[in-house]
Structure formats: structure tokens, C-alpha cells
Symmetry: C2
């Protein structure tokens, strides 16, 4: 309990916003739908970025940077892509403001109108494939394994911090390959990297799969995804990797001479994760006391709090804590000592709980006498008085245990909220309660949309290697060979 | 000499563009004035970014992220700021495209017109100070030491890769302080960080100073700068740090309660460097064989080239080079082995010279017999046959020497092209030849502009601690107390 944070069972949406506010992760800006990512939230993003960037580079990818603006006409070149993005994009029409002769303000200078309007990139397939056209001539130029860290803009009507914002930060990989098989392998490799990152760093269990035609990325042949369960039982898509076939190569006429000296269209993938991952971390691990962060990504892993009454006690306690702080820094543990005078220890406990710091160490006068330190785990709230010896080893063990048990707790939660369902009534009931449901589906978009209309549940994914079994569609009763995953989603 | 690179003395501008093309640093995109930063150029930027980011964090700064879009009305709030930026900004007016009923293309959906137009940020003072208003209440909230890595857009009419592009990448620091003195100190601290980075990492000697009123950032009280000399004798401003006074605090009504419980306006600084630094590196160090990079920032510090005729020689040479490669990697030296079969050693030599790799090691059959390796310095072209023993130590020494001698060479060049001038005729002559000139100036904007009109030279800076001496203005003959730096500039 905490007076700043609305409990989950009172108002889940408000709980989410309260956590963001009191952990100082982000806030809405004056520009509709655009957020300010505050320093603490950005430090979390930097850790996500650094970890993923290394994983990308270790698998042979390199970074580059492509323009923010895309000529309007590029969007019409790939038929499905245009449908997906044209209706929600920011459009630059002019390049100059001038003083309003009738007021103190500024107005658009009509003489500075662009010949062709520019779209602020909602995703960069079009501008990148128009560039690849000049970069790829022969099979020797392939594969091209490029990633970009960038901001993108999608004009969302209903926005929510981190989960859906008009502007967001992300990475987008865009690779080019000589063969279909190699491109498909790349799309799956990146899916696996996203899944490893989610499970090993974010401590979020995910299910891997492929989207239905209806849920596919606009312009993709196949969209692979990872789906995670939030604490309200809803699904959150935490990363997608697309096999784009030759769609963008054809749209932008990107061909290469193969080993037999024949011209072929290039095969493509794209894949991305965004600041949305921060929303996933918040909603997977946090509790009614505030944010809970996995140690591997936490900007501050250990917070040190001094407890004292007299000046003499203060100097002894701080000396000890400074010593511990330096030891932890030497061991690459991210530590902060909160030695501010203006706040009480109790206030600091609450403050750093709300910030989700995984481990708190406190030392008071009694600990000085006993050579002890109080360890408090953010995730379980457990406290233990331990000797000050072996501090590094103890801290490392705690952080590892917290990382591990956050994952296990989330996995247990998901398991407890996942059902195999065969009747429509039960389907409705379990969806309403907030669960993942494995059910049979007849494979048609019509049925998929009907189920969505009736229950707000969507097909989150088709498993990569489905268990084959004969069943009948949960809605239509038509024959089905395997189950797919249904849930309401963010 | 190199058939791909136009020599400097034939066409300096073309030389610059040839280097960028053949080092594969960047290229113009289809969007006017916007560049694609290619992987090799981006790797250089990543090294610049990582180094600066650490320097910022070591001095107490933290990163955050503010919106790409700024409401149009914000620009009119600071009188000088609007003059500086309104005439060259990209303006978003609509948020939806629709199908053109008369063609296959897309047109703007007129029903999706923004109530207030949004400006794509040319710099973020306005959006950030409108945000700081809510973050700062008391002196306890100060200082606020925030930096942002971002893309910005300025609608430049004449663009040039890296030096002046419509969109560019940069960092912008925006700090808030309780006192004027502290803000001024911060502005100078950041100037010193930029100067250290330029000299110690980019190997570019810089002169520190303050801009004249005419050359000041729009909205600043003082603009500090570092200026570097390019190989054509022109100056390049390589970083600026602004003391903003209370201008933005007043424009956005940002006040704090000081220790005496009185409301005061907050004091501000902002400071930035951009992808322009890559242009400075290119033009300071490169030669007619292509790019030359300082070892501390080079994406590849050492290139290994095998030389062989027979398969047996190949396997011996590659075994040895792979061994060296692994040793270098273990010692955190950025190394690449070019073992491609389709290119000859000579082709590879040229290729990596054009890429500016500081050090080349080559091993052929004779080196196998003699236990030797050929070291070739990119900067001087010197070659030495050395024993394979102590390879790590030798490589490290070479890299250190190259870093040092690039700086010294640039410094010597600048010294040789810097004149103290007292007559107008000589001033014109030396400016025309491409030089830095220390001359007296009467302190008026009128004279400054007249000199610019007559010679295209601008006042690059006033020294931070000018040598006081009585002199007379180079143009008007009016009395002057100290010399200022004149040059033509990028």
C-alpha cells in the first residue's frame, strides 16, 4: 500500500499512470500524444538499447541512419503498406513561418509550400528500400544487415504513455537477402533475439508465434511476434519480426545479379521493438507500492539508505555506506547512496520503492555496533539482517535471485491465467476475466473478426510449431487442425 | 594519388565529396538536403557519441527525451529565437493522407488539419523550457543538468553532407540553475569539454572564444564556441555553448523559490555538437588518398591484409593473421581482417586507405619465413618491417603516435596559416589565400557586417581572455583594445 499509487484492483489504468508518474519515468507533453521521457525513464531505455544493440552487433548487424522525412509518393508504391500507414501520419507541407501582419504571432509562409509533401516516417521500409536500390547490384552486396535507432510518428487517436504514443523511439532492422530461405531465417533469428532479451533481461516470459493475415504488418508476407501477459491478463505484443518477401524490392525495383548472372528481386525482412517495452516491464512486475524493475535493466540496482539520529551516528553510518558504495561500484553494480538530509529514512524507503530499485541496503547505529546491514528486496518485501562481510557476493546473489524470481513469478501468473477452451460460453467467460486462451479456429479472417467483435479478443498468434490435433472452431464449429492464442490486447 | 579522389588543389569541394563517397560515410537521400548516414559513417558517429556521452555523465549530466514537434506559438515567445529559426523550419499541418479519387496516388485529407501547426524541432529550448516550468519549483530542484541526443531539422537552402544538412543528428544540453554565476560556469565547463574532446579525440586543435552579438545564438546572452581550421584555411565552428540568461525562463515563466523564499527566474544554458563534427574530421586530416581518421575514433583501427599466391601460402598467412587478430581483439583494439578472395592486396590497400584506417598490417610468405609483419601508417604512408613479437605493444605505440602526430600536424598547419594583421590590404590578401587573422575591430556590428560584405570573412570569436593592447580597427581605424579572430567559415 502506498498513498500515491492507486491499487490495481481499484483502477488498473490509473495504477499504471500513477506508477509512471511517481517513478518519474515519463509525462505527457503539450503536444498531443507525444511524451517527454524523463531522465529515470530514459536511463531504463538506455539500458534496453545498449543490451539489444550488443545482441544485434553480435549477430552481424550494423547501424545506419536514414532520413526522418519520406516523400508522400513512396507510400503508394507498396499497396498494403499504404493502407496501413497513410491514415495516421504527420505531413509536412511548408518550410517557413513568417510574422502575422495582424498579430504578434507566426503564420505559415504560403510561398514556402513543398512541391511534394513529406511524411514524417511511421516506419522506414519505403525510404530504406529506395536507398537499397543503389546499394545492391550483385549477390556480393548481400546480405545487407542494417539496423537504425530512431524516432517515428504515428498519429494515434487514443494514446497512452509508452504503450501508444504519437512519437516513439524504437529500433528498426531492415535486411536484404539473396534467397527466400535466408530472409526467413533472419526473420526468425531476430524473433529469437527479441524473445531472449524479453526473458533474460526484462524477466518477461513470452510466447513466440506468427500473426494471422489480418494482424500482419502492412506489406509483410509473415509477421512473427512475441506476446507477453500483463497483470490484467491482457496481451502485449513486445516485438515483431517481418518476412517481407520481395514486396518492397518489387515496389522499389531492387534487383541483384545472382551467381548465375541472372537478375532477381531481393528478399527482405524488417523487425522492431520500441519504448513500448517499458510499458511491458511496468505492467508485468510492478505492484501497489510502485514500479518493480528487473535488476539487469534497472538504472539503479542498489539503493543505500543511512539511518541515524545524532551527527556522530551520521558520520559513522555514512562512512560505512560510502565504503560499501565504492566496493559495489568497483564491481560494476549500479548503486546510489541517498544521503540527502532533508528527507527521513521512511520517506526514502517509499521513494525508492516507487522507483523500483531492486535492492535496498540500510545501515543504522545498531548495524554499526553489530557489523550488520539490512537487505530489503523490492520484489518480495523480504528483509534480512546480514553481516557486512561478503557484501559483494551477497548483493550479487540477491540481484540474481530477484531477476530469476521476477521471471518465475510472471511465468506462474501467466500459467495460472492460461486456459485451453473448447466451448464458446467458457471462451467468453475466460476472456472477460482476463486470460490467455488456446482455442481452435477455422482459419478465416471472417471468423477472426467476428470473435473480435463479440469479445474484443484477437488472435495473438499461431504457434511456430503447432500441436496438431483435430478440433472444431470455437465460434463456427468448423474443423481445425491446431489451436491458436486468443486474448484481449494492448 | 588515387584515381577515385579529386586532389585538393584541383577542386577542394569535390575532394571533400569524393572522400565521403569512397569512404562510404554518407550520401544524399531522395529528400532534398537530408542525408543517409551509411554504416561506416554511423560507426564513426557512434564512437563520437559514446565518448561525449561519458564525458557528459562524468560531469553530472543525465539524458532525457523531449518531443520532435513544437507548437508553432512557442516560437514567438522568445523574441530573438523566433527571428533565428522561424524562416527555416519544417511545418506539419495535417495528420492524414487519403487516396486521390483521380489517380492512384495519395493526397492530404483536408478534414485532418491541425488546429495549431507543429514545427519539427530545429532546437529544443522552447519545448524544454515549457516542460521545465512544471519541474522547477524550488532551489532544491536545481540545477537541472539534462542532455538529449536527437535529430533536428533546419530548412537550409544550400546543403552539404555533414556540414549543413536539413536534418542532422546532434546532442543538445539544456541546464537550469539558481544563479547567474552557476549558469555561466556551466556554459564554460561545457565549452571546455567540447575543446578537450576535439583535441584529445578528434585530434583537432581548436580556439576557444565568445561570439560577437551578431553571431550569437538566437536567444542567448553569450555564445561560447570552439573554432577549428580546415585544410582550405576556412574556419569550422565545431561546438557552441550558450549562456541564455533568464530569457527562456521569462518567455516560459519558469520561476523558483530561492533559499530566502523569494521567487526568481531560473538561469539557463544550452550547448550542442552535431554530425557536423564528422565534416570537421574529414577536412582536418584527410589527404588525396582519401579519409584519414584519428585512431581514438576510428571504427576500424587496424586492418590486416594477407598476401599470398598459393593455397599453402594462403593458409599459413591467414593462420598467422587470425592469431594476430585475436590478440588485438583481446586487447580491445578494433581490428578487421580482410580475407576476401575476390580482391587483390593492392585493391585492398587502396580501399582501406580511402576508409582512413589508421594502421595497416600486411603479412606475406616472406614474413612467415622471417617472422615479420609490415606496418603501414595511413597518415604518413611510412612502412616498416617489424618482428611479429611484441605485436600488441607495437600496435598500441603506432596508434598513439598517429593520434598525436595528427594533432600536431593540424596544429602546425593552423599556425602556418594564422597571421596577426594590421593593414587592410594585407587583411584582404591573407583572407583571400585562406588564413586565420587576428586583427583589431572597433566593436560595432556595422563594421563587422561591412568586413563580411567586403571579404566574406566573419569574426569567428573574441578570445576568452584577450591580450589587452591598444590598436586600431582594421577597417575603420577606430580605437580597439584587443584583437579578434577573422576567417571565412563553413
Amino acid at each position: 500500500m502506498n498513498k500515491f499509487i492507486t491499487p490495481r484492483n481499484v483502477d488498473y489504468s490509473q495504477w499504471y499512470l500513477d506508477i509512471i508518474e511517481h517513478a518519474q519515468l515519463a509525462e505527457n507533453s503539450v503536444v498531443r500524444g507525444c511524451m517527454v521521457i524523463k531522465p529515470y525513464g530514459f536511463a531504463l531505455w538506455e539500458n534496453i538499447q545498449a543490451t539489444l544493440d550488443k545482441m544485434f552487433k553480435d549477430t552481424g548487424h550494423i547501424n545506419a541512419y536514414f532520413p526522418l522525412f519520406i516523400p508522400k509518393s513512396f507510400f503508394s508504391k507498396e499497396a498494403e503498406h499504404v493502407e496501413g500507414f497513410a491514415s495516421e501520419c504527420a505531413i509536412v507541407t511548408h518550410y517557413r513561418l513568417k510574422k502575422d501582419p495582424n498579430s504578434k504571432g507566426l503564420i505559415i509562409d504560403d510561398t514556402a509550400k513543398l512541391e511534394e509533401e513529406l511524411v514524417v516516417r511511421p516506419t522506414s521500409e519505403t525510404i530504406i528500400w529506395s536507398t537499397y536500390r543503389n546499394w545492391i547490384q550483385s549477390y556480393r552486396d548481400l546480405p545487407l544487415l542494417i539496423n537504425q535507432w530512431a524516432n517515428v510518428v504515428r498519429w494515434e487517436m487514443r494514446t497512452r504513455l509508452f504503450l501508444r504514443t504519437t512519437e516513439f523511439l524504437w529500433q528498426e532492422g531492415h535486411t536484404a537477402h539473396a534467397t527466400k530461405e535466408e530472409a526467413m531465417e533472419e526473420a526468425r533469428l531476430m524473433l529469437n533475439i527479441y524473445a531472449s532479451f524479453a526473458e533474460q533481461y526484462m524477466a518477461i516470459p513470452v510466447i513466440k508465434g506468427v500473426k494471422t493475415a489480418n494482424e500482419r504488418f502492412a506489406g509483410a508476407e509473415d509477421t512473427y511476434c512475441i506476446e507477453a501477459m500483463m497483470q490484467d491478463g491482457k496481451a502485449l505484443q513486445a516485438g515483431t519480426s517481418h518476412f517481407l518477401g520481395q514486396n518492397f524490392a518489387k515496389a522499389f525495383d531492387v534487383k541483384f545479379l545472382d551467381r548465375n548472372n541472372e537478375l532477381q528481386y531481393v528478399w527482405a525482412t524488417s523487425w522492431g521493438v520500441s519504448t513500448r517495452l517499458i510499458g511491458a516491464i511496468i505492467m508485468t512486475h510492478s505492484d501497489d507500492k510502485g514500479l518493480v524493475l528487473p535488476p539487469k535493466l534497472a538504472p539503479t540496482q542498489v539503493i543505500l539508505i543511512p539511518i541515524f539520529r545524532t551527527e556522530e551516528e551520521k558520520s559513522k553510518v555514512l562512512e560505512k555506506l560510502n565504503n560499501i558504495k565504492n566496493q559495489l561500484i568497483e564491481n560494476n553494480i549500479k548503486v546510489k547512496l541517498d544521503d540527502r538530509d532533508e528527507f527521513s529514512p521512511g520517506w526514502k524507503f517509499t521513494e525508492w520503492e516507487m522507483h523500483g530499485v531492486p535492492l535496498r541496503l540500510a545501515i543504522g547505529p545498531r548495524d554499526i555496533d553489530n557489523n550488520t546491514v539490512e537487505f530489503a528486496r523490492r520484489d518480495t518485501g523480504e528483509k534480512h539482517i546480514l553481516p557486512q562481510d561478503n557484501i559483494i557476493e551477497n548483493v550479487k546473489n540477491y540481484l540474481e535471485n530477484i531477476q530469476k524470481s521476477l521471471f518465475e513469478k510472471a511465468l506462474d501468473f501467466r500459467d495460472a491465467h492460461t486456459y485451453i477452451i473448447d466451448t464458446w460460453d467458457e471462451f467468453i467467460e475466460k476472456i472477460e476475466q482476463g486470460n490467455f486462451i488456446w482455442a481452435h479456429w477455422d482459419g478465416t479472417t471472417e471468423t477472426e473478426l467476428k470473435i473480435k467483435e463479440l469479445t474484443k479478443a484477437t488472435i495473438r498468434l499461431i504457434p511456430l510449431s503447432p500441436n496438431l490435433e483435430n478440433g472444431s472452431c470455437i465460434l463456427t464449429g468448423k474443423p481445425s487442425k491446431y489451436r491458436v492464442l486468443f486474448a484481449r490486447a494492448y
